[in-house]
Symmetry: C2
Subunit: 700 residues, 2 copies
């Protein structure tokens, strides 16, 4: 029993707006309910009819023999509110609103949708839709939708934000012979969202693979929790569209500019273990693979082919997809050598030659699948004169039984000569393609999923006990009082230091004497910078002096900077001059944060310095649920990591202090949601420790 | 008439090794020749038979009524040489050797293949194979192969290095309904190669698209010439496998290490206008697109759909593939607004809504295809209740007639409900897919081809009149006499300067006094570097002094360097100390050259400095046929280009002098094939001019 069980398995279902006219949705739904084999009570509701499709028809939902557990509404939009209210009053648990004309049509529709949701809240009804196709479950069974047909029974749950996608995939699935456990059309997601149905499908014993098409996520943090938990139980594969709607994000920071609009989704999927499909064909190839094959134990693929060329094509593709060609043990090689013709290639890709009949495939597969270095195999068949496609397919099926833990894929490269073999394989649930590439893409997705499952056993979220929120609150108080959103450098350093982020000592000074005094305290050399959040490029206006090494130079520098800036920008408010201790050079990095509307703080790490936007060597993670292991993997995705490990004979930098610095930034921005952006650029990494040189913090 | 016409259209064909036994290749070929409708004479040759498949059989190729123009040999490998000799003696023009057991089996086979080729040369016979399936032409017609069947007539020539690929694709093509003009199985390519058949297909009036599968190219420069000319006439699409056979290339230089094994092919294809397919499905999708649709005038795609979600998926894919969504004119938008329902999306992607019948598609397509801002369109149909797939397909066919210059693709997203429509479209040669992505990949390939065709009208190859080969010959003479392969820095600068490549003045000196004298002549400051080709990292052994600004400092520096290096590396031969004028800092670049086995000099350009291998911001071009336009496009592919144009307020660098520098390097390495590698790193680019700071040249 899941929280949404009563949607898929209601004792009774009212169809409000049921109709006798076959072209009406209200008629299709009644027919679908009947033909699905639904075992609960069906109550068609329509005040003008006595009977629909052989069932007694009721004038209103209040007049059914018992309150229906589920009501499917297919009435004009203008009457939906009234009908929903009536359902609520008489004790309906769940609503599916098929009717369109809500949020998707504009302001009035949105108001109507809000009213509908309020009614559901009032009566504690859960709502699917409005503006949806409905839902189907082949195991309960139920077809509370107006789709043309009912899917084959299977183990794939398909949850779709697009109703048309449901209709398309259903129609396509009959031809492809693909079975489903559930189809859910989410519609406008006024109440129940992808997260709810992913959570439900994760609990559903009849569902092995969760497939989603979405255009956006309703509640980022709910989604992350649900997706993370679901992915640990079974694969969640998502096609997320809307990637190209760029520019939604304000980009006043480096980090913001680098993140773009799709990075948060990409990161959210990766961190929660979701497999992202790159296209519609890939979505369904992955579904078939996950539904029919076990997760491979590793990334080592064996290729068995009766032709060299296609074998090389497959080998290329394996490397392109980040997989590895399996290396056989000596026993396997000897076994192959002893029985295959001498012209065969007995190393991977194994070429059993064009004159191979089924027995040669059988023998080779048997030896290769037994090899501990082989995690999965792709068997390729070209139609040569003596090829036995049907018998070879039979051999594959036997092998599948003998080695159930090793995923097996077929590429039958041809047409009519191989059709029977392909059909046999499909029936035996061995994924079969015309060309090898889709098989290898599928394996790649499965291997990724396997790796992530391993990752999930890592230590819990970050926590530091030496943080000082009080100092930060005080600083923010002052900044807000000053009507600013951007912190001065000295304030930003104070905030960073309060959370244990090591920064170059920095002080705001308002006179040459004060500057000199601060410099004396820090020790020379020092840097002077004009303090004004309005000035972006301080060097260009003569606002920076570096390498000052006496109190006299500092006093003089203060005066010159003030003069310069006054001359360039006479109207800009200046807060004084910042004195900063000049730090030794280290590996130049950037650590930053931008806040995503859906998923919250998005942390960036990469090569720093003035070329950060040019080089774009940056990786991202969400602060939500971040672990040290994730931070380490984040580092490893960048070229900066190569520098940190010691490039061209340099000593390695103190990577653990960089990991800690990123972790502390993540905790800081989680504790203070008013921080909208952070850019720490550069951070200098040393052989021991690290230091933030320039910290920019923006609050809201 | 092409050079190979007599292969595809011989007056008479002898089949040597013809057989009566149906399981023998020698029987299949005779049957294939007869059933293809071949109109020339067929002479089966077999001393043991009187008659084969109703044709008179001859005891030897010398006994046929006339010398056969073409002989197809299917006899044991051991008898092939003898039979070929006999064919040559009696005046056969062309040989197809089906027989395997040659180069592919090892050393003995290779010798036999050489002997076979010698015989062909002796008698001026051309040879296809050995170890091939044969060839087919649907227009002449002829089927001189042992393939099971004969392709449908069409306009695609398929040239394949893999025989199995020929059999696979032939079988698959019947099911896909795809027609071909020719199939050529290249086999071992002992004589005729992909280049010969690409050249032939480019001339063939019945061929519209040239499709190749290759694993390697036999003669790089012949291939480049042929492919470039062929691509100007019709699309040449190549699937090149063997990408993953890395490490073949020696990598003693930066440039060599960056190039990897596939870069030369990638570059050769791009520079010669070949479209490279990324996978087998893509190869055939592209073939269908090019064969049936005109080349789009630009990159602007319109999407017409009856469902929002799939429309967004297609929009994403268009941006991912580097295409653009078309923007409609005001007239188009008004026309759509005036007739489509108010909830429709009248901007691209156009959503005609789920209740659209064929007439709404018809109207929308008519307006959209007429829009001058639309270069091509993808029409998507989801199976909603009222959808009219067949009529919508009919509307597409009418539009195709009305707007023949605009490519049109269909994505019928579903199964049985849309099958009839899909069949209608296929018959009308409108490419039809289940999902939109393959259509968009095809459009992307066509747009690339269109762009390259435009590029081909550029000025001819590079030429400089102020070069001084004599100095270089003299230098190489000395270096070779000294038994070295690596030039000293001063020698390399001399070579570069002789070809007009601006370099920092550099002189080799052997005493402190000589060094001081050279420094005086150059002007201060100068840099001193130990001169020894054996020392890779000169700084590490105390072999470099920078910023010396008086003769005293230079003298002292000379002595210290020699002392340091003697201490670190007492046994290394030192040539002295190089004095180099210290140049002002500029944008740091690398220009390099590595020599590819097949395609000759491969020129590299990118971000220079010590991080060149880390940043990998490098683009490549072959020196063969290089133009200034190509060099410019090479620059534009890199991040270095962004720096050169003036990054973050910097003044732009002198891009034309960088282009010239690359051009001069290309001419230098073409004129002197003994140069195996060049690394110029860094090159400093200035607002005026540029300068090579460190030139490394290796010769053979």
């Amino acid at each position: 029993m899941t929280a949404l069980s009563s949607f898929f398995n209601p004792r009774s279902t009212a169809i409000v707006g049921a109709s006798r006219a076959p072209e009406k949705i209200g008629n299709v739904i009644v027919k679908n309910m009947i033909s699905s084999g639904y075992t609960g009570k069906i109550y068609p509701v329509n005040p003008k009819e006595e009977e629909i499709e052989g069932l007694k028809c009721y004038p209103s939902v209040e007049r059914t023999p018992e309150p229906a557990e589920l009501a499917v509404l297919s009435v004009p939009a203008s009457r939906t509110i009234e009908m929903a209210e009536m359902c609520g009053r008489c004790g309906v648990h769940n609503l599916i609103v098929i009717t369109a004309g809500f949020k998707e049509t504009g302001k009035e529709g949105l108001e109507m949708e809000r009213a509908l949701l309020e009614i559901c809240r009032k009566y504690k009804m859960r709502l699917l839709g409005p503006n949806c196709v409905g839902l189907m479950d082949t195991h309960s069974p139920i077809n509370a939708s107006f789709a043309a047909g009912f899917p084959l029974k299977g183990e794939i749950a398909f949850i779709s934000q697009s109703g048309a996608m449901v209709l398309s995939i259903l129609d396509w699935s009959f031809q492809a012979g693909l079975g489903f456990s559930k189809f859910v059309s989410l519609g406008n997601k006024a109440d129940l969202t992808e997260s709810h149905f992913i959570e439900d499908a994760a609990e559903d014993p009849y569902t092995k693979v969760i497939l989603c098409y979405i255009e956006d996520v309703e509640n980022g943090s709910h989604f992350l929790d649900v997706a993370r938990r679901a992915s640990q139980k079974k694969p969640v594969i998502i096609l997320k569209s809307g990637v190209s709607q760029a520019g939604a994000q304000a980009a006043s920071s480096h980090t913001g500019a680098l993140a773009g609009s799709d990075v948060a989704y990409e990161t959210a999927f990766r961190q929660s273990g979701v497999i992202r499909a790159g296209s519609m064909p890939e979505l369904f190839d992955l579904a078939v693979a996950f539904a029919s094959q076990p997760i491979p134990g590793g990334e080592h693929v064996a290729i068995i082919t009766n032709s060299g060329g296609p074998g090389i094509v497959a080998t290329d593709n394996i490397e392109q997809k980040g997989l590895k060609m399996a290396r056989f043990t000596r026993e396997t090689i000897e076994a192959l050598r002893s029985r295959l013709p001498s012209e065969s290639n007995i190393y991977n890709p194994v070429d059993v030659l064009g004159d191979a009949k089924a027995d040669r495939y059988f023998y080779s597969m048997d030896k290769i699948l037994a090899d501990p270095g082989v995690d999965c195999a792709v068997v390729m068949v070209c139609p040569a004169a003596v090829t036995e496609p049907l018998e070879t397919a039979g051999a594959m099926i036997e092998m599948k039984k003998k080695y159930p833990e090793k995923p097996l894929f077929a590429a039958l490269m041809g047409g009519a000569q191989l059709t029977e073999g392909a059909e046999l394989l499909s029936k035996a649930h061995i994924p079969c393609f015309t060309f090898p590439e889709p098989a290898i893409t599928s394996i790649s997705g499965m291997v990724k999923y396997g790796r992530r499952s391993e990752m999930s056993s890592q230590p819990g979220p970050l926590k530091y006990n030496d943080v000082d929120p009080k100092t930060i609150k005080a600083t923010f108080y002052d900044v807000k009082k000053d009507n600013r959103l951007v912190l001065l450098g000295s304030e930003a350093v104070e905030v960073a230091s309060a959370y244990g982020i090591p920064s170059a000592p920095t002080a705001l000074t308002v006179s040459p004497e004060e500057a000199a005094k601060q410099a004396e305290q820090m020790g020379y050399p020092v840097v002077l910078k004009i303090a004004s959040p309005k000035i972006m490029h301080k060097t260009d206006v003569g606002g920076v002096k570096i390498g000052l090494s006496s109190s006299e130079e500092v006093r003089q520098g203060f005066i010159e900077i003030m003069d310069n800036v006054h001359r360039y920008l006479p109207r800009v408010v200046l807060h004084g001059v910042e004195v900063q201790k000049m730090m030794p050079k280290g590996v130049e990095l950037i650590i930053g944060m931008t806040r995503d509307v859906q998923f919250g703080p998005l942390i960036a790490f990469g090569l720093g310095g003035i070329y950060v936007n040019l080089l774009k060597d940056v990786s991202f993670r969400l602060a939500h649920g971040l672990t040290n292991g994730e931070i380490e993997s984040m580092l490893m995705e960048t070229k900066a990591y190569t520098l940190l490990r010691g490039y061209r004979g340099e000593k390695p930098a103190d990577i653990s202090s960089i990991i800690e610095m990123i972790g502390r930034v993540a905790v800081l921005v989680t504790d203070f949601p008013e921080i909208t952006e952070i850019d720490i650029n550069p951070v200098f990494a040393y052989t021991q420790g690290a230091s933030a040189l320039d910290v920019k913090i923006t609050i809201s």
